[in-house]
């Protein structure tokens, strides 16, 4: 049997993996079911015992149809961003089609190439853990399939050479010259190549030049948090139920509770509409950035700037599941922060936006805690913000038509708010702003507007601002459009407001006392300035709509997502978000490690031991336990390695192949010690001399050793060739005899 005996099956698996990876990346599972079933069927139809193949003309026609389908799809939606998706789909279809044709190793190479094209194309559209896992498996499997293809190609070439020969006598068929155990050695080579390839790939991955703070690409059309509001996209968003983190909301007594309203967790604050780029941006810059550093103890809070942290604060504990980000999601208004790692956070006092500086760390934080005042007094905000909050000044919003639309809405719904305020004090002005914002919010929540994730009919036109188009023409969209509409209406009338993106926690799990926050909970809303030191949230998107949407998309699989999302977090944290900053940190650490001669590694080991100890909550005695466990594991590994090596050595000495059962090896193991005793006596046995003959030679040199060894040698013959069995008692007795012999050989007796 040669390594090629399962070649066809491995090739089919290759295509199946490519189709699955493509389907996972592009979320086209119907394609996976059709092509996957077809690929499996080819195993019976074409590669089965009957071997029925599609004729060449049929294959050509079907390939032409598939090609035409791809061209038609592209012309239907000529988006360059979707080109590789179409190419990948074509690659999958052609690869499966090829499986039904009569093919040689050359055609098999085409199948492999098509599968690779499909997977590489899909890489541009997804960064999910599942897809990444499939890509890694596919890549490693491809290594094996290519190696098998080389063997198949060599065999076919040799056969083709022989086929061309004409002679008077029949030409002997090709027989591939093969040594012993080709399959085992082939597998070992595959494993070796795979491991080396992985190491090299990881090396390239680590040193590949990257942008600083790339933070992983925001790829794919999927619901989820983004630190910006971009209204240029008009595709359909897929609802993703991936758990991003959990939130424990504890009252001042430390009891986890469910907040009466949806818990809005602020991530990014954007206050300026960029007409040219059609997105919301931060206008103030980061002039007032302040940094705070946590100690690494999750119970030690660091003030974010407030003069004093009083009692009566709520505690928000966030534990990351799948999301790896530098943003800190906090309920308004955070006053202090604690983290499970020593981290440096930046805070923008103007809007209390928090972010991890991610310098000096290879991964993202997993848990942080915040002390939150849900209804902060102006004094508290003032103490944090200081001079950061700019003086009251009207915002700049110059989208034509929006102000007119705002005035029309007010004229229809609250005409009194259009009348100018006479002798109004500052408080009256703030009250009026609040009323206008409430009017707009109610207007947007009305029946004229519809919430949807499908924006394919929202046509972006040159010269027409998407906010204006949303307010006056389309009147449908998702939360970002609603928030943009409200912010646009307010700012057009000179009311200070800002768009906030983050998550809204609505799903409370009583069993664990935590909110489960999913990607579909990503949300955008508006904060309107309602005082010199106060801002108020207005959400034009009805929370009932969000809850209904989420409830409609839940499935039984979501109950198990926490398991998958842990791995997803690691994947995103360590792999997807690996950028220039992380790279520089890694280089620094490597430099420190080399410079300090491994002291850094020792520190890392200590740090890891501390983490493990904290996890198991063992206290100071935990270090002793860890030491004992580490020692036991080390001893076990050494014992296993020694035993394996000893068994291998015994097999070599006895010339016993794999067919000799292990118990026979164990029973004859004393022979190895016997040889060592001979060696200790200064008369090592050559490999070519039979034991009894060697015994005669020993008798001439060391008669005492020979006399002691004779019964053992005879016993060895009986065990090895006479089928004599040794029970445990006999083995113990033999072991004692060998020990005695060893002592005699070393001159001890």
């Amino acid at each position: 049997m040669t390594p090629l005996f399962r070649y066809r099956r491995y090739l089919r698996i290759e295509v199946l993996l490519a189709v699955t990876a493509y389907a996972v990346a592009l979320q086209t599972f119907e394609l996976m079911f059709i092509l996957g079933a077809a690929a499996l069927a080819s195993g019976y139809v074409s590669d089965g015992p009957r071997g029925r193949y599609l004729p060449m003309w049929a294959t050509t026609i079907l390939a032409a149809i598939l090609f035409g389908w791809s061209i038609f799809s592209f012309l239907e939606n000529p988006d360059p961003a979707s080109t590789m998706a179409l190419v990948g789909r074509l690659g999958c279809c052609l690869a499966v089609l090829r499986l039904f044709g009569r093919r040689s190793a050359r055609e098999d190479r085409q199948v492999i190439l098509l599968a690779v094209v499909a997977v590489v194309g899909a890489c541009l559209y997804s960064f999910q853990f599942l897809f990444g896992f499939l890509v890694v498996v596919f890549s490693l499997h491809t290594v094996q399939v290519i190696m098998l293809n080389r063997l198949q190609s060599g065999l076919e070439d040799a056969r083709a050479d022989r086929r061309g020969l004409t002679a008077d006598l029949p030409v002997p068929p090709v027989e591939g010259a093969s040594g012993r155990s080709p399959i085992t050695q082939f597998r070992a080579l595959v494993v070796g190549c795979t491991v080396v390839a992985c190491v090299l790939a990881t090396g390239v991955f680590l040193i590949f030049p990257r942008k600083i703070d790339a933070g992983g690409a925001s790829l794919g059309s999927r619901t989820g948090f983004t630190p910006e509001v971009d209204l240029t996209r008009n595709d359909q968003l897929e609802q993703s139920n991936r758990e991003v983190f959990t939130v424990e909301w504890a009252d001042p007594q430390g009891v986890p509770i469910q907040w009466p309203q949806p818990l809005r967790l602020r991530g990014a604050v954007l206050d300026r509409w960029n007409e040219a780029d059609r997105r919301w941006m931060t206008s103030a810059g980061r002039r007032y950035l302040r940094t705070v550093t946590t100690s690494g103890d999750p119970d030690v809070f660091v003030s974010l700037g407030a003069a004093e942290i009083g009692r009566g604060l709520y505690t928000q504990t966030v534990t990351m599941r799948s999301l790896a980000t530098s943003r800190v999601f906090a309920r308004w208004a955070p006053l202090a922060i604690a983290c499970d790692q020593p981290r440096t956070f930046t805070i923008e006092p103007a809007d209390l936006e928090l972010e991890d500086t991610i310098t000096g760390e290879l991964d993202r934080f997993t848990t942080y805690r915040l002390l939150v005042d849900p209804n902060p007094s102006p004094e508290v905000i003032q103490s944090i913000a200081g001079d950061a909050i700019p003086p009251v000044r009207p915002p700049i919003f110059k989208v034509p038509g929006v102000r007119e639309e705002a005035e029309r809405i007010l004229a229809e719904n609250a005409p009194s708010l259009l009348e100018p305020l006479v002798d109004a004090d500052e408080e009256g002005q703030w009250r009026r702003n609040r009323q206008i914002a409430e009017t707009f919010t109610n207007y947007l929540r009305g029946d004229d507007f519809r919430y949807t994730l499908d924006l394919r009919r929202f046509v972006q036109r040159r010269g027409v601002d998407p906010i204006y188009a949303f307010l006056t023409e389309y009147r449908f969209g998702h939360c970002e459009y609603f928030a943009s509409g409200l912010a646009g209406l307010c700012q057009s009338l000179g009311i200070e407001c800002r768009v906030v993106t983050g998550f809204v926690a609505v799903e409370y799990d009583d069993s664990i006392g935590r909110y489960i926050v999913r990607e579909s909970n990503a949300h955008a809303w508006v904060e309107v300035r309602t005082g010199r030191w106060s801002w108020r949230e207005f959400d034009p998107t009805s929370s009932e709509i969000l809850e209904a949407l989420q409830a409609g998309r839940r499935s039984w699989a979501d109950d198990w997502r926490w398991l998958y999302d842990r791995a997803d977090f690691l994947w995103t944290s360590r792999f997807v978000t690996f950028d220039g900053t992380t790279q520089a940190t890694l280089a620094d650490r490597f430099g420190e490690f080399v410079g300090s001669g491994g002291r850094g590694a020792f520190e890392d080991a200590k740090s890891m031991a501390r983490k493990v100890n904290q996890y198991f909550q063992l206290g100071p005695a935990g270090y002793i336990w860890l030491g004992v466990v580490a020692l036991a594991v080390s001893l076990a590994v050494i014992a296993i390695v020694a035993e394996v090596r000893r068994r291998r050595r015994i097999r070599e000495v006895l010339h016993a192949g794999k067919d000799v059962p292990l118990r026979r090896i164990r029973e004859a193991a004393f022979y190895l010690d016997l040889l060592k005793a001979f060696e200790a006596a200064g008369c090592a046995k050559p490999g070519s001399t039979p034991p009894l003959m060697h015994l005669e030679k020993v008798l001439r040199v060391r008669p005492d050793v020979a006399e002691a060894a004779r019964p053992l040698v005879e016993l060895f013959y009986e065990v090895r060739f006479g089928n004599r069995r040794l029970d445990a008692t006999a083995r113990r007795s033999v072991a004692e005899s060998v020990l005695r012999l060893r002592a005699i050989a070393e001159g001890g007796l």
């Binding site: 960064f127 991955f205 997807v576």
Partner: protein, 400 residues
């Protein structure tokens, strides 16, 4: 031993794909693409390392095939031993490298290229692979150097090792089976029966009685019979004495001076004559005839009349070694008397009765069709050889 790396088309395509993926990874900040790019680069490195490491210190040995025959498979075996301690050999092709010295007619003028394929050889393990050549002409086939080539594991970078191993093997002339009746006709007396020899052996069939002569064995005395003068008689037994045939190949006239009709291939006619001789010899020896060989016009020694497989090999090796390009000698050929052996003279162009005795058969290559057991095969092969020789004229030659 010479090591060389080869970059093939598949490798170039792979390199192009790798660069494309690298470009995509640079343009799109996608870490998965970066990892795949690293993997693709890693595979290039592994491809070079594995194919190079596996062939490093490889040992190749050609096992002597002894001899071959025109239009019959010549199996050349190679003993391959991997030199690496850790990396096994997979997918290695062994092929003969044409001789660099153009003065020698190497194997390329005898047969098309053939290669042996090694599926696997473990580290330090020796395996035997075989290549099958089909020689198209007779002569001394020279092998010069051996090359082992492998692009395993990924087919991107090939590595070849060339080792000089010279070997010469003889390619016997093409033969066809001659009709038994034709051989009987050539022998005159037929094949069956033995002739009574003068000696008295202790074995064999009873032949008769004769008077006792001093020196006769006592065991051969017929005790129940006496001559009239009561002197003893002995039993005379028939010794087996197979028929004998002397084959004379007339190569006295140089190739260029052969008197053939215009347009015919002279060298081909000579080869046909040699093939005719080999065919008669092979069939005759198989029928138990003792065959001797004289090659007139060359310096090659005469072969005595013998039978048996070994003698047939010797005889064919003799014919295989005939160098038609060498100078022709006008040497007198010793012709045995008709009562010793039947004489068959094969001429190339015209019959020359001066060569051979009065009872000799004079044949031309064209007579092979009449003698062959399957004449169609002879015609087909003749036509085939004429096609390959580029001549389309038909030269029947002279009749016997």
């Amino acid at each position: 031993m010479r090591y060389r790396y080869h970059l093939n088309l598949a490798g170039l395509l792979y390199l192009a794909v790798t660069l494309l993926v690298g470009f995509a990874a640079t343009v799109r900040p996608n870490n998965l693409l970066v990892w795949i790019f690293g993997l693709l680069l890693g595979l290039i490195v592994i491809s070079g390392l594995i194919s190079g490491g596996a062939l490093f210190r490889i040992s190749m040995r050609r096992l002597d095939p002894m001899n071959g025959r025109v239009d019959r498979p010549l199996v050349v075996r190679y003993a391959i031993q991997g030199g690496s301690r850790f990396i096994p050999l997979f997918d290695v092709r062994i092929r003969e490298v044409p001789c660099a010295n153009v003065e020698f007619a190497d194997w390329t003028s005898f047969a098309a290229e053939a290669s042996a394929w090694v599926l696997h050889a473990g580290p330090g393990e020796t395996v035997h692979a075989e290549a099958v050549f089909v020689p198209r002409r007779r002569g001394r086939m020279r092998f010069d150097r051996l090359e082992a080539r492998s692009s395993f594991p990924f087919g991107l970078i090939g590595k070849s090792v060339t080792i000089g191993k010279e070997l010469e093997t003889l390619i016997f002339p093409r033969t066809c089976r001659i009709r038994e009746g034709a051989i009987e006709k050539l022998l005159g007396g037929g094949i069956g029966g033995g002739r009574s020899g003068p000696g008295t052996g202790s074995i064999g069939e009873y032949a008769g009685l004769r008077e006792y002569r001093p020196g006769d064995s006592v065991r051969s005395v017929a005790w129940k019979r006496f001559r009239p003068d009561h002197s003893p008689v002995v039993i005379q037994r028939a010794m087996p004495s197979p028929p004998r045939l002397i084959l004379i190949l007339d190569l006295r006239r140089p190739t260029a001076q052969l008197r053939l009709i215009e347009g015919s291939n002279h060298r081909e006619r000579e080869e046909e004559a040699i093939s005719f001789v080999a065919s008669i010899a092979e069939t005759s020896i198989r029928l138990g005839v003792e065959v001797g060989l004289r090659i007139a016009g060359t310096s090659m020694p005469d072969l005595p009349m013998r039978g048996g497989r070994r003698h047939l090999d010797r005889l064919q090796a003799h014919l295989a070694a005939v160098e038609l390009d060498s100078e022709r000698l006008d040497r007198e050929t010793v012709i045995p008397s008709p009562n010793v052996a039947s004489v068959v003279v094969i001429h190339v162009d015209r019959v020359d009765p001066g060569l051979g005795n009065h009872g000799a058969w004079h044949l031309l290559p064209a007579n092979l069709v009449e003698f062959a057991e399957r004449p169609m095969e002879v015609r087909d092969s003749a036509a085939q050889s004429r096609e390959s020789g580029g001549s389309d004229s038909d030269d029947a030659g002279a009749a016997a």
